[in-house]
Every structure is written in C-alpha cells, then in structure tokens.
C-alpha cells in the first residue's frame, strides 16, 4: 500500500451563513521501504464546495435543525457523495451561533448524519486556527520569518489566529462581525448586539434600536470597530479594544509582520465602494460597510503590518474544517481496530524531564500525581477517562520502556480499575514498543491503544478514527484554549 485517498467533509454553520465542502486527502508513504513505515497527508484536494446558504434560524436564538438538515441533504446529493464514503472531517458551529440555545444538540446531530468519523465541535479557538489554515496563513508562515495573523470576520464574531513557522501560537476572538448591527433598507437600526454595548459606551458612540442612523454616524461606528480590532491584534492599544474580546485575552503582545482578513467580511473588503446607507444595508446589516472601512485601512496603511490577500475568504473556515482538521498518527502503533473510532477524549499531559526519567522513584511520583489530577478532573467511566499524552522522552531505551510501562500500567489499574481501555499518545516514535510493553502487563484489562507522533496539549480533545489499511489512524486534535497553557 503506497497511496490511499480518504474523503473528508467540512460543515460550517455560522451566524449568518452555512456552507459545506467535500475534499479528499491523499496519504502517501514518506519513508523508504527499508525504514519503518511512515505516512503523511501529502495532498489535499477540494472536490466540492457548496453555495453559501443563509443559516436558517427560528426567531433570534434557535437554529432550525430541520432547515440545516435539508440544506445538507441537498448538498450531499449535488456532490454525489454518500455518507459511508466520508472518513473524516469536522462540523463547526461558529461565532454567536455557538451560544444559541440548541447549538450543542445540533452539532452532534449533524456529526452523526455526516459520516462515521466527523468531528462535532464549537470552539472559537479551533475555529480561528482552522480559518487561518483555510485562508492560507499557516502555509504562508512557513515561508516568512515573522508572525502572520489571520482574522476571520463573520457575522457574529471575528476569530484571529497567529501563526509562526507553521504553528499556531495564539488565538483570540472578538465581538466583531457584520451582523452585530442590523439595518432596514431605509437605515433604521433594527438590532444592536448587547455584546458590544460596553465598548460603544467606552468609545462614546451612541446607536440604538429604532434610530434612523445617518451614513456618517454609521461609518464612524464601523471605523472605530475595525480600528479597535486592529489595535488589539497589532498590540497598539488593548484597554478599550479589550472590551471586544470574547473569552481569554492574549497573554502578551506578539509582533505581527503580516495580516490577512478572511470570512464574509473579508470577502466584502473587495466589494464595491459603500457610499450611502442603502449600499451599506444591502444584506440587512452593516457588514458591507465594515468590509469597506477595513479595505480603506489597508489602503491607508496606518498599521505597521503587511496586508495580504487570503487564499479563501468566506469559505476559509469550512475549508479549514474539511481539509485541514485531519492528521494521521505514526504508522507503527498499538491498537485494537474494534475499539475505534473513539471520540472526544480529553488530554492529560505527562511532561517528563530527563531527571525524572533517570530516577524510578521520581517517575513513580510523577505518574501518581498526574493520575490523581486525572481522577479529580474527569468522571469515573468504564470507557476511556482521558488520553495520556507523554512528552519529554528523547531516546527511549528498553530499560526505560520497562520502567515506564510498569509505572503507567500498574498505577492506572489501581487508580482507574473500572476503565476498560487505556489510551496513550507519545510524542516520539515509540508507540508500538510502549503499547506492546503495556499490553503484556495488562493482558487486556484494560485494553491498550497507543499512538505516536501527534502533538497535543493540555486542554485539547482528541478523536481517533478507524484505521486505514490496518495501521494508519486519522486523528483530529481539537485545540480548545491556547492561553491556558503554562
């Protein structure tokens, strides 16, 4: 087996629009026939991109599940694809939609109806990272020295992700979006998101529902909103602009070399000039104006960053979700195919130092304390309480392998006797040896799944798919929070 394709789907249910894509990923053998097998995703092809649909809502705060269901059914039909062919992918409910009351229910419903191994998720951080990948910022970061930030501005929120040398290093989410202010064609304000009220008053801006707003006044609001976001992103000012931040703030200022803007508003940046209220309100909100003022900022060049055109605008998130969410593990692993797929396993991270690895007593203490943390954090389950991610092992000798597997298995069986499956993720290529050593000790109680060469962090969740040709495991790492990391 030298080559294999898997089909992957991406579905993005946003505040204002819903879209879906189908792609296929080529797995290729990267190692020579004289080495241990190692596969990678070597190519990602977009097969089908749906139209951009309006997200069907019932009232203001409920997603119309049936409406989304029928949009997808029609799109699957058009794409000429059946659910059984989909091996991977992600459903994302983005922006303000995610806080609507039935979002969780919908996302799981969709995941179940979208294929065997489609990840259901609704996290602003992951969304920002996927949008950044879809917009091409991750790829671009590999070609430059500095940091590139992509901000995906949709209807309800703007998700920014910073990339450096091919890695996402930080994310931040803003209450900035096209549908935060809705307008009638005559320019009567119909809705102002409560999320920006505090910022509006700090800026001394007045805008109220029912008010017939002048073009100048509306432009002022849009300009201020755009600038505040850029101020925060570039680290120019964070006191007032910080009021727009949803969730955790950035820990420190990151010097930014390049900037891309994706999302619906990113697309509107290249739209026709917005001259009056009727231009601005053509979608029933101030999105076109927001795009236009950002474009003017870009042309003025007031911010010390290089603006670039993103690879994708309105479809950046869905393309990221469909094409970039899947990774594969190292190919020498220890698994039981009948136990896969497994979904939504939280990560517990065991970071070992050289001193701890050299000293059996300290290693035992370290394992004990991480298992205690696991007992506190996660509920007892007969399934998988967590996936233990081990890092810090440089070279693993057989002697170390024995000590490690002894400590890991013995204490696991003592601390989590009801768990029937133990999941271990190693950073370096040692999963088959470690899995085998653990399995010889545990003898099926618990069963062992051990994979490697996947980077996970504390706070991530992980999904493992069914093996492709025996040993290649598709993995989706759901990064939830960057700033909680130590």
């Amino acid at each position: 087996m030298d080559e294999q394709w898997i089909q992957s789907v991406g579905i993005d249910v946003g505040t204002s629009t819903t879209k879906m894509i189908v792609s296929r990923l080529r797995l290729g053998r990267m190692s020579s026939t004289f080495s241990l097998p190692r596969y990678q995703i070597v190519e990602r092809q977009l097969l089908y991109a749906s139209e951009v649909h309006s997200t069907p809502l019932i009232g203001f705060d409920e997603i119309d599940a049936d409406g989304i269901g029928s949009i997808l059914a029609a799109e699957y039909n058009k794409a000429q694809i059946s659910l059984s062919q989909i091996k991977s992918g992600a459903v994302i409910i983005t922006g303000e939609t995610a806080s609507k009351k039935n979002a969780q229910h919908i996302v799981h419903l969709l995941a179940e109806r979208s294929g065997d191994f489609v990840v259901a998720t609704a996290g602003a951080d992951l969304e920002g990272v996927l949008a950044g990948k879809g917009a091409g910022a991750e790829k671009r970061s590999q070609a430059i020295q500095g940091v590139i930030v992509n901000v995906d501005i949709g209807g309800g929120t703007a998700n920014a992700a910073y990339f450096q040398r091919g890695r996402a290093i930080a994310t931040v989410t803003f209450h900035v979006g096209g549908r935060l202010i809705r307008l009638s064609p005559q320019g009567v304000v119909q809705y102002v998101s409560p999320n920006i009220q505090q910022w509006l008053s700090a800026k001394g801006l007045r805008i109220q529902v029912g008010q017939e707003i002048g073009f100048a006044q509306l432009t002022e609001v849009a300009e201020q909103l755009g600038r505040s976001m850029l101020d925060y992103l570039t680290g120019k000012e964070r006191q007032v602009s910080g009021l727009l931040v949803l969730g955790p703030h950035l820990r420190d200022s990151i010097p930014v070399a390049e900037l891309t803007v994706s999302g619906g508003v990113g697309l509107l940046m290249s739209g026709p000039p917005v001259q009056n209220v009727s231009d601005a309100s053509r979608y029933g909100d101030f999105g076109p104006l927001l795009g236009y003022v950002l474009q003017q900022e870009r042309e003025k060049g007031t911010y010390p960053v290089q603006w670039l055109d993103p690879d994708q605008t309105v479809r950046a998130t869905v393309i990221g979700a469909g094409m970039q969410s899947t990774e594969i593990s190292g190919s020498t692993v220890h698994i039981k195919p009948e136990l896969l797929p497994i979904k939504n396993i939280p990560i517990l991270k065991l970071e070992l130092t050289e001193e701890q690895l050299a000293d059996a007593t300290r290693l035992r203490q370290e394992v004990a304390s991480i298992y205690q943390l696991g007992e506190r954090l996660f509920e007892k389950t007969t399934g998988i309480p967590f996936a233990l991610a081990i890092s810090g092992i440089g070279y693993c000798s057989y002697a170390l392998l024995q000590t490690l597997s002894q400590e890991l298995s013995e204490q696991y069986r003592a601390s989590f006797p009801e768990s029937q499956t133990m999941v271990v993720i190693c950073e370096t290529d040692m999963a088959k040896a470690l899995g085998q050593a653990l399995a010889l000790r545990c003898k099926g109680a618990p069963e062992i799944i051990c994979i490697d060469q996947v980077r996970v962090e504390y706070g991530d969740y992980i999904d493992l798919g069914e093996p492709i040709s025996g040993t290649i495991i598709p993995v989706v790492v759901k990064t939830l929070a960057f700033d909680e990391r130590p």
């Binding site: 004289f34 241990l36 020498t332 070279y395 057989y398 040692m430 088959k432 040896a433 085998q436 399995a439």
Partner: protein, 314 residues
C-alpha cells in the same frame, strides 16, 4: 568513547585558539551573542573532564555505556547569522554537516577534526569486536564464518557467507531445529552497532514475538558474518522465518547503525529481492525499541503470507 573524542577535539581547538589568541578579536563576540546555546553545551562537557583523566583504563568499558547525551546539541559556527532561528531549524532537520562556516576557502579546524574523528570511529567500528559481555547478557554463543581475519573479510565477501565446519557442528549440537523464528546476530561491518543497539532491539523483539504468540529457536552470534550468511544458517536449521541483526557499513553520521534482514525459509540460492530489511536502526535513526517491536509484526506477516521481500505485502 565518542564523548572523550569530542572532548579531545574541543581541547585541541581551544589550544589552537589560545595560540592564535589576540589575532582574532571577533571570535569571542559571536559566542557572547549565542550565550544560551554555548552554556547548554558546556554542561554535558563537565562529565568527560572527569572521565578523561582515567580514560586509558576505562576505554573498553565506556563502549558498553554509550554517552548519555546521545543527541549532542548542535550549533552553527556561522558567526553572525542573519536569521538564527531559521538556521537552527535547518540544523535540527538533518544530521548532515551544514552551517559549518569556513576559514578562507577551507573548513574550520574544528570541522576538520570532527570529520576525521567520525571517520576514525567508522574505521574502528569495522575493525572492532563485539563485547563478550553483551553476548553473554543474552546467552549468545559464537560461531565464525570462513572470514579468517578482518582484512580478508573486507576483500572476500563470499567467505563471510559460509560458516566454518566447527560453526556448523556447533549449530547442529546446540540449536533447536526447524524453529518458527530463528534470531541471529552478527557484527557485519560494525561491531559497535551490535554493542550499542542489541540491548534495546533484542528484548523488544522478544516481547513482540511473545505478544504475537510466536516461538523462537536458539539465538546465537556469527563473527565475521555477511548478510547472506543467513542462507547457510537456513540450510542447517531450517527455520520458518529468520531475522539477522547485523552491523551496517559505518558512515560519517553514525558508526552504530544496525539492520534487520528478514527472510521466509532462508536457503542457499536466495535472491536479494526475497529479503525484507529494516535499516538505519540507531539512536538518531530508526528507534531501536520501535524497530524491535515492528520486526515482530513483519515476521508474523511473513508467516501468514509465507513470503518475504518484494512478495510480502505489508
């Protein structure tokens, strides 16, 4: 041993620098800028200072316990790199000698010494002998091929493929006949590879056989062996599958690389395409414990498919 050599190289270079002394004012400045890295490097060097004084007596023992800092921190000699992070990224992507800088049109003395040191280690690996303690640890008895001596071994590969009459007799006497799996270890072109990797590869392979429920015959060691010596062993013991763990031709990156050649029903007249191989097994290459575990998987697939080499579907 490598560490001691490293220490010697550093010492020689330090002497040279002292002598050239004030002539090069620039030399200390890049050091100050890359202070962090230099300091990191100086830590592991503290050990060899102590051991170097007793080096002559310890030398043979040192070989059994390869240096703990197996992946020495590599740093560039480029004095003021324009993009240091990028250079470090390149360095960490390859063991090749890049970013070595130059003096005039020639390499730096340190680079030259390192190159000659690594070449010497490669030569030593060919002329060295596998430590008896390592063989004893896994109860491997020794048989010889008709290689006679290392000079002849290098000139006459054919003689390294045939066991001596004494060796054949020993195998017939001491080995289980027709085993499911036969494990053979040989020095090949690098005795140092066996010393360095056997203790990680072999037990991991044994564990793997155990988890696949495979049974193993009597393992032994061939001195002066070539890859195709497995054919002769196959004639004598008739195993279903055979794995030969053999030292590879040493190179300038490492002298400690080992290969595992595997074969279904080895016999005289086998063609090379019937052998399956996992190569480059050493600390910085294919992980020895992972290789050991994977060899078990390959052997079990060979038994399943009754094939090896290009006919085996992995």
């Amino acid at each position: 041993m490598e560490q001691q050599l490293d220490f010697l190289v550093d010492k020689v270079v330090a002497e040279l620098q002292k002598k050239l002394g004030e002539a090069t004012e620039q030399a200390p400045s890049p050091k100050a800028e890359t202070g962090g890295l230099i300091q990191l490097r100086s830590e592991p060097k503290a050990e060899p200072v102590a051991s170097a004084t007793t080096a002559p007596t310890q030398a043979p023992v040192a070989n059994e316990q390869p240096a703990p800092s197996a992946e020495p921190e590599r740093t560039t000699h480029v004095p003021n790199p324009k993009y240091k992070e990028g250079l470090d990224e390149l360095l960490s992507s390859t063991p090749a000698r890049i970013g070595v800088w130059r003096t005039g049109v020639r390499p730096l003395t340190k680079t030259m010494l390192e190159l000659r040191r690594d070449h010497a280690a490669a030569v030593d690996a060919v002329y060295g002998e596998v430590s008896q303690a390592v063989l004893d640890q896994y109860s491997l008895f020794t048989v010889e091929t008709q290689y006679d001596n290392t000079e002849n071994y290098l000139k006459r590969p054919d003689m390294g493929r045939v066991l001596t009459e004494e060796g054949v007799r020993l195998l017939q006497e001491r080995c289980q006949k027709k085993p499911q799996v036969q494990i053979v270890v040989s020095d090949g072109l690098s005795a140092a590879a066996v010393d360095a990797n056997l203790k990680d590869v072999l037990p991991s392979l044994m564990d793997s056989l155990k988890s696949y429920g495979l049974t193993c015959g009597t393992p032994f060691f061939i001195q002066g062996g070539r890859v195709a010596s497995m054919d002769h062993v196959g004639e004598i013991l008739e195993p279903e599958v055979l794995v030969l763990l053999i030292g590879e031709r040493p190179g300038l990156v490492t002298a400690h690389s080992m290969s595992a050649y595997m074969c279904y029903r080895p016999r005289k007249g086998m063609v090379e395409s019937e052998r399956t191989v996992i190569s480059n097994i050493h600390r910085q290459g294919t992980s020895p414990v992972e290789a050991g575990a994977h060899i078990g998987t390959i052997l079990s697939k060979m038994l399943e498919q009754k094939a090896s080499g290009v006919k085996l579907v992995l």
